[in-house]
Symmetry: D3
């Protein structure tokens, strides 16, 4: 199995509901360093997993929809805690949709899975993996 | 599949038995940077994999049992080389026991696997993964 | 010249005023990985720059005053952009005050300078250095 | 499942054929930071996954065959793009062959899989995993 | 003293002349992870060291002049070894020229020094610092 | 001013005397990731700060004198706490002696300073700088 990963980041504000979150129930924020991994069993005719230029560009566009925002105000997340693990799924699902729309190129249709990791600090990160 | 990882570290002394270890047969030591990853297929009602505060606290307690010690003197490891890979299993098993005891919270009972990596330097690390 | 550095982090929300900031004029947030460096020309009688336990504890207390907060609501920063470089100075000045109050131990009075770096992402960070 | 990883690097020149590569069609180069991971379900009698000294040595020898070279001139890669993902497979396959030849020690025959990651920058890397 | 650093990278081919370089006399290549640090004693009226957007953009443009190239073919470097330390000076000098031309903004004229680090691997890097 | 840095590591056991050290008064250990930086105002005729091959080799030899040892048993350190900051000075002084003996090459006599950082974990490190 082959994989390629590209890294970018976003900076957002949010707050959490639930006593388990302690002080994180207050409005605060995070830098998420985002690693998007694309997997497939064989390489395409160019010997790549995915066009790394397009992968980088599409990841940037997915993050631009969230970047520099207060996620508490985003209708998409109304009523849900935007935890690191939940946001990893949001990014993975949106990238998967773009693969489906052909935005990562025709050969990207050979991808089998996407794996997204969001690093919230030097001591904590979360991931979500899904098939394509 | 979702996962959350928390990082901590411990500093121990030990020695190895067996010619394969060369100079590491002498009493020496290591800083282990420890990454504990918790996995589950769906998030709980708070939208988390595990209460990250409790996960951090329990990892710290597991490491406190080993930290600032000469592992050659620990009865638990008598007769066994405390290699990086063997210690990864020790940490994973002890965390798994704490999950079973409910110390990471009730919802942590939904966890399916634990994955522990011990970094011994900038050029070597070892891992152990086990189901829950 | 000797130095010792300890690392911790904080997660805050804020917004910036000024066209130069573009989308960062919106309410967003950041994880700051904070490195606090203490410098002195000679070691104390224990052979240390500073009691690393106390340094870690005091850094944590300084960050606790900012952590999980919307800095736009903090009276201390009214009318000022809480940029990464400005916050580096805030942390350094508050640590310096604590050195002066003896909170890092008597021998910490031998410190000559403090250097604080705030990492806002994997591609940007800022620092402030001041004498003691 | 246990694993052990060792890290080394190589510095090569190459160029790519195909419009998808844009400016990377020109002769350029890369530092690849190479992580070779060895996996097995149980430890050997020394409590290790693999003799880490031999693993490090064999990885270094595999990389020495590629290091400080223009890969466009290597007959092994004639007609194929030496992308990061393709080179990850080359390194994994050559390590696997050395395991088969007994160069990582007799007990290394208990290894089940090899996983190789090549980091080409702080924002992009690629991997290949294969059974043994 | 304040500073701000931005990170980018470039991927080049080159060779060195001189027996001291051993196998690096052959045509090979490198990824350079480039950290450009800007220093000044006081912040500007926006509370920044430099417009980080412009700093990132100008660093990218300086690197674009070198990226995806065989430096052995660049007239600018004819007769000189393009070592990591020499390239750190090239990047610093070109950034300094852009500061002088006002490309980092008017307030960037308050900068006092530039410090550039080029990381060539996980175990080696080089820097050059110059006043403005 | 130019600089070049090379990285290596060592793994040692030791204990500290003094109540300030708390549990670190027990026999424990550490991995030290060691960065040795060499500084000079101008490059030599090969366009380098120092022969990086020799620098790497000499750092390795300095660390080999300490590596895989219990520093409590080393006569050189009798009666002194082998703290991270104290060991940074030991490494810097021993490298400086080797520069003086010509072991880093004739041109290394143009070096002006050595700066050594020992990382003891992902959250703590110490440095020592000295002239040559």
């Amino acid at each position: 199995m082959f994989s390629v990963t590209v890294r970018d980041h976003m900076m957002i504000a949010h707050s959490f509901r639930g006593e388990v979150f302690g002080p994180a129930q207050r409005l605060h924020g995070a830098t998420y360093v985002v690693d998007a991994t694309f997997r497939r069993p064989t390489l395409d005719s160019d010997n790549v997993v995915v066009d790394i230029g397009r992968a980088t560009e599409q990841l940037q566009q997915v993050l631009a929809e969230l970047n520099y925002r207060n996620l508490d105000d985003e209708p998409d997340f109304a009523g849900a805690n935007t935890t690191t693990e939940a946001l990893a799924k949001v990014v993975a699902d949106r990238l998967a949709a773009r693969v489906g729309e052909g935005l990562l190129g025709e050969s990207a249709r050979g991808l089998e899975a996407i794996y997204v990791t969001l690093g919230e600090s030097h001591v904590a990160w979360a991931s979500y993996e899904r098939p394509l």
